[in-house]
């Protein structure tokens, strides 16, 4: 049964008041992630915006046990938590590795890839704000083509993003999903499902960032929805190798069509210097990806 606003668990593990920026999508996503885990988790968190959210000693805004760990080590730390729990015979807890795009696509990918290859039993969540936002918005492996950042200040980024979910899928892990903070019930259900699966589970969560993407902080939901409606972010899951579109992406596939990507780009100051050529390239990329997703969804149905 799909979760709704009516039947969702009430207990909160993200306490009121934290240190994230106004309109932070991570704050929203994390709230639902912890709810879905019912607090029965140990989190490991590398240097990232989430470190900021977790607070400053001796005060924390998170009512779940957590270890902080150096930037490159999220998946290795999670491996250590899993190994430690197993060695001590402690069962029933989900080890939650949760890192940003910099900590996942870039500095953390070695440890993550190795842990996935070892089929380590943890849930890895990458919250993707498409840049090094905690250090003040520098380009990452997830920053889109044409976006200005602290280290692509004039010309904007000249390369496309990696497809991290596809990279993780290539590791033959039992569960890969994409989600968005602005579709929290879909995220909630994916975490709930992932919780019950053994082995390495990976969820990519799209988290719009008002100060990094240069949009007003009251537009987070609007930007997140536009991302899905234009196909920039596609919501799906791959469970045991079987692909499904979910939530709004599934609805669009069934009865609608994608909005032009231009509508999504126009709302964000980070694309202020983007060229027509780059917009077309991004649109082509979305079209190719969307077509592939529709084909995969069709293959799964047939």
């Amino acid at each position: 049964m799909k979760t709704t606003a009516v039947n969702i668990a009430e207990k909160e593990y993200l306490l009121p008041g934290n240190r994230t920026c106004p309109g932070c999508a991570l704050s929203l996503a994390y709230r639902y992630i912890l709810k879905a885990l019912e607090g029965q988790a140990i989190a490991t968190v590398p240097a990232s915006c989430l470190t900021v959210l977790h607070g400053m000693y001796p005060v924390t805004s998170v009512a779940v046990p957590c270890v902080n760990t150096p930037f490159a080590t999220t998946a290795a730390s999670a491996t250590g938590l899993v190994a430690g729990l197993k060695a001590l015979g402690k069962e029933g807890l989900t080890v939650l590795a949760i890192a940003g795009d910099g900590g996942t696509y870039d500095i953390g990918i070695q440890a993550l890839s190795a842990a996935a290859e070892r089929q380590t039993d943890f849930l890895y969540i990458c919250y993707d704000n498409e840049g090094y936002m905690n250090t003040g918005n520098q380009r990452s492996g997830s920053t889109p083509l044409g976006a200005v950042s602290g280290t692509t200040p004039i010309l904007g980024k000249q390369q496309n993003q990696k497809d991290i979910a596809a990279i993780m899928e290539a590791h033959d892990i039992p569960y890969v999903a994409t989600a968005s903070a602005t579709y929290p019930l879909d995220l909630y259900d994916k975490v709930k499902k992932a919780r019950t699966i053994q082995g390495t589970r990976f969820i990519h969560v799209f988290t719009p960032c008002p100060p990094g993407w240069f949009f007003p902080f009251n537009n987070t939901i609007k930007i997140g929805k536009l991302a899905v409606e234009t196909g920039w972010a596609i919501l799906y899951e791959v469970e045991g190798g079987v692909f499904h579109l979910t939530s709004a992406s599934e609805s669009i596939a069934q009865k609608g069509k994608l909005k032009p990507l231009r509508e999504y780009i126009a709302e964000q100051g980070r694309f202020k210097n983007i060229t027509e050529e780059q917009i077309n390239e991004l649109q082509d990329r979305v079209n190719v990806r969307w077509k592939r997703c529709l084909e995969r969804a069709g293959d799964s149905r047939s």
């Binding site: 607090g39 029965q40 988790a41 140990i42 490991t44 470190t51 900021v52 977790h54 607070g55 400053m56 000693y57 001796p58 005060v59 924390t60 998170v62 009512a63 779940v64 046990p65 957590c66 270890v67 902080n68 760990t69 150096p70 490159a72 080590t73 998946a75 290795a76 730390s77 999670a78 491996t79 250590g80 938590l81 190994a83 430690g84 729990l85 197993k86 060695a87 001590l88 402690k90 807890l93 070695q110 440890a111 890839s113 190795a114 070892r118």
Partner: protein
């Protein structure tokens, strides 16, 4: 140091240093082992994998993809409450550097075997002590073994020490010279080691019923918690780490003494001596190099010099008082270092000078850099090096700015 009373039924085996280390880890009942292969450490990891796969050691063996991850696995497993072990050498240890700081800063009783090897560039797989010396400021206790018996004994003791003071311990032994050289080693029984080393009682709690958040961002100044209680700032946490190392001397000695009572081999000092009683010339070194120095000292004795050796067993915490007491009344101290702090001198030489600062009867101190990248260090060369300074002492400069090297230049 070898005591005559042997109370236990240990078995003497011919073991190389790596095998001795693996036996120590098995006997210490490590619960999580994570390591990445590097020469000359790799036989330790192979032996431990074998123990785990044969069911002779009930542990999780994690074959990680890097040394950085090896220590990250260990720190997080230690946070959960498991007894952990890793081993590495040279570049692997350097790659761990960030995590070495993290393990000490988080006050986790990780035990690491460092099989000492030279650092590149250029590549060398052979022995010196540049790797572990380069990590001296990471907050770890460092113990240097001089033979394979000490490798085994030091690792077992390292768990007692680490778990008493909540500081990680690095047990260092020379690559090839010890790691790949077989010597007779008494392997204690599991029953006896269990008597010596109780199960680890963690000081960290990772429990949803009592959720705690470890190693959060910590400000420089003390700060109040939700109950209004003033808690440490970063500076206070660093003070406590230094205090733990300063105070660990007593624990290291007590643990070594207790080990001696149970196993007949006492380690009741931070340093060890060879013919030191009446010596006016003292050679100082660490690890297997100090064993070579004992042969050199005997040669010097035969030539009529009152020579002895001070072996450094523990480099961190540096036993300033013990060293000062042992050296302050001597005429000449010659320090042999298998490492160098480039632009200055050998690391142990600096420590010894620091330990003797302000002593009115301080000796003349000379420093030799030797044995880098596996260069053979002969006892004869060491004895000649000492003789050279004995001859020139009358007209020699008291303050030698930089060390001498025993090499072809």
């Amino acid at each position: 140091m070898m005591s005559k009373k042997t109370k236990t039924r240990a078995s003497a085996q011919m073991l190389d240093g790596n095998h001795a280390a693996a036996e120590a880890v098995r006997l210490s009942r490590a619960q999580v082992i994570a390591a990445y292969p590097i020469t000359p450490q790799s036989p330790v990891t192979e032996k431990l994998s074998e123990f785990v796969e044969r069911g002779e050691l009930d542990a999780q063996y994690v074959a990680v993809e890097s040394e950085h991850s090896a220590l990250a696995v260990c720190t997080s497993a230690s946070m959960v409450g498991a007894r952990v072990f890793t081993a590495t050498s040279a570049h692997g240890l350097a790659y761990m550097h960030e995590m070495l700081h993290w393990a000490a800063g988080a006050r986790l009783p990780v035990v690491l075997a460092c099989v000492n090897r030279a650092m590149g560039a250029p590549w060398s797989v052979l022995n010196d002590q540049q790797d572990s010396i380069s990590q001296r400021d990471t907050g770890w206790i460092q113990i240097y073994a001089r033979n394979n018996q000490e490798v085994l004994d030091s690792i077992v003791q390292a768990y007692r020490i680490a778990e008493s003071v909540y500081v990680p311990v690095m047990v260092c032994y020379d690559g090839y010279v010890l790691s790949h050289t077989e010597m007779p080693v008494d392997v204690p029984t599991q029953k006896d080691v269990d008597r010596f080393l109780p199960a680890y009682e963690p000081h960290t709690i990772l429990d949803p019923a009592n959720p705690r958040n470890y190693n959060l961002v910590t400000l420089a100044n003390p700060r109040v918690n939700a109950e209004g209680v003033l808690c440490h700032g970063y500076m206070e946490l660093r003070y406590l780490l230094q205090e733990a190392l300063q105070n660990s001397r007593e624990i290291i000695i007590n643990v070594g003494q207790e080990f001696g009572e149970l196993f007949g081999r006492s380690y009741d000092n931070m340093v060890w001596e060879h013919r030191l009683d009446d010596a006016d010339v003292v050679m100082v070194a660490m690890g297997s190099l100090a064993m070579e120095a004992t042969v050199a000292a005997d040669m010097l004795r035969e030539a009529g010099h009152k020579a002895g050796v001070l072996g450094l067993r523990v480099f961190r915490p540096f036993p300033k008082t013990d060293v000062a007491k042992a050296l302050e009344k001597r005429r000449l101290v010659v320090v042999f270092d298998k490492n160098i702090s480039y632009g200055s001198e050998g690391a142990t030489c600096s420590e010894i000078k620091s330990a003797l600062y302000g002593k009115s009867t301080g000796p003349v101190i000379r420093n030799y850099i030797v044995g880098l990248g596996g260069r053979d260090v002969k006892a004869r060369e060491m004895a000649d090096a000492v003789s050279k300074w004995l001859l020139s002492m009358k007209d020699g400069d008291l303050n030698q700015e930089y060390p001498e090297w025993i090499c072809a230049i």
